[in-house]
Assembly symmetry: C2
Homo-oligomer: 220 residues x 2
Amino acid sequence: MSGLDKLQHVRPAEIEARSFEIISAELAERGVVLDPENELVVKRVIHTSADFEYAGALEFSEHATAIGVEALRGGCSVVTDTKMAAAGINKRVLAKFGGGLHNFISDADVAAEAKERGLTRSAICMERAAALEKPLVYAVGNAPTALVRLYEMLEAGEMPVAPALIVGVPVGFVNVVESKELICGLDVPHIVARGRKGGSNVAAAIVNALLYLASGNARE
Amino acid sequence: MSGLDKLQHVRPAEIEARSFEIISAELAERGVVLDPENELVVKRVIHTSADFEYAGALEFSEHATAIGVEALRGGCSVVTDTKMAAAGINKRVLAKFGGGLHNFISDADVAAEAKERGLTRSAICMERAAALEKPLVYAVGNAPTALVRLYEMLEAGEMPVAPALIVGVPVGFVNVVESKELICGLDVPHIVARGRKGGSNVAAAIVNALLYLASGNARE
């Protein structure tokens, strides 16, 4: 089994710490200096994607990280546009602060209403979340239509309670870039991955980074 | 709401088809010619990541796509290393062919055994899957340690039934590249993303592409 000789011997508990060391070193090599306020969020996204492009692509509204951390620490719940993002979020830490996770995508009435109104299920899910009438972290990793619906509701004054934070990181080719630009133009706390890239894994990584910061353990 | 003017008007049902058109056009612009046998798998990974690097990074063993399609069509089940990959796989289509989804990561005894033996939970999960003694599609999108454990078991003759297919696309910085090289050196059908990139979303996208090909509808 000589192929195994090439493996680094790193204990399971140390893999993540070693990964973050490598990320920090390579960012330094590239001459990238991250805003200390958002540094741990950016690094966790790079950790989850192995894609250093995020060092430049992630856009934070003023104090977005601190605002998100404070909201989650105060028991704010999270809504996602996909089950995959929901699966990736650390529910244990979220629950520790009193927060829960909402995801409406599989609800039968969501599919029916989406079909009837010619909208995506993800857009309807954002309406369902808004109807809860409580502050939420909206984590959108897949559907630009979800971001567009949030924008429309906010612009039309149709959201009784504004989002605590919008994590806007859908991925793809149709209206993805545009949907993110819409969110960046809003006066609502947001963390957005500009460009085409993103994903449910990126959305989950951002929410988890905020949760770990809220726990005082940025690599929990 | 002038920001909305920039959006393309694409009906929900047409978003994916339009995305694949854009991907095909941009691959052509880049002069990339994909192997027709694996083309739809590669395109679905680009669709899920917006990352054209996968056009060059995905490595297929001989007839890996056809082998995976045939296995799933025959009712082969899938095991994943994370709940996130499990969440992203189309269980409806998988079940249509008789296949199920295994994921052992949350089992209490997995965590206990991992701690006791100094292994990762993901590595133990691969042992649990092997102990089922049936052909499986092993979809690994996160943990290189899962791939390493598969390699060790195969090399030591400890797998009573060989994998139908290994989807080896973990992401990260510690032993990720090396774990994939190990799998590429095996005489076992595999689809591997060479390099650091990958992810649970990529693992799910590959399995879904195979499922849609098995259904005769590559964009179902």
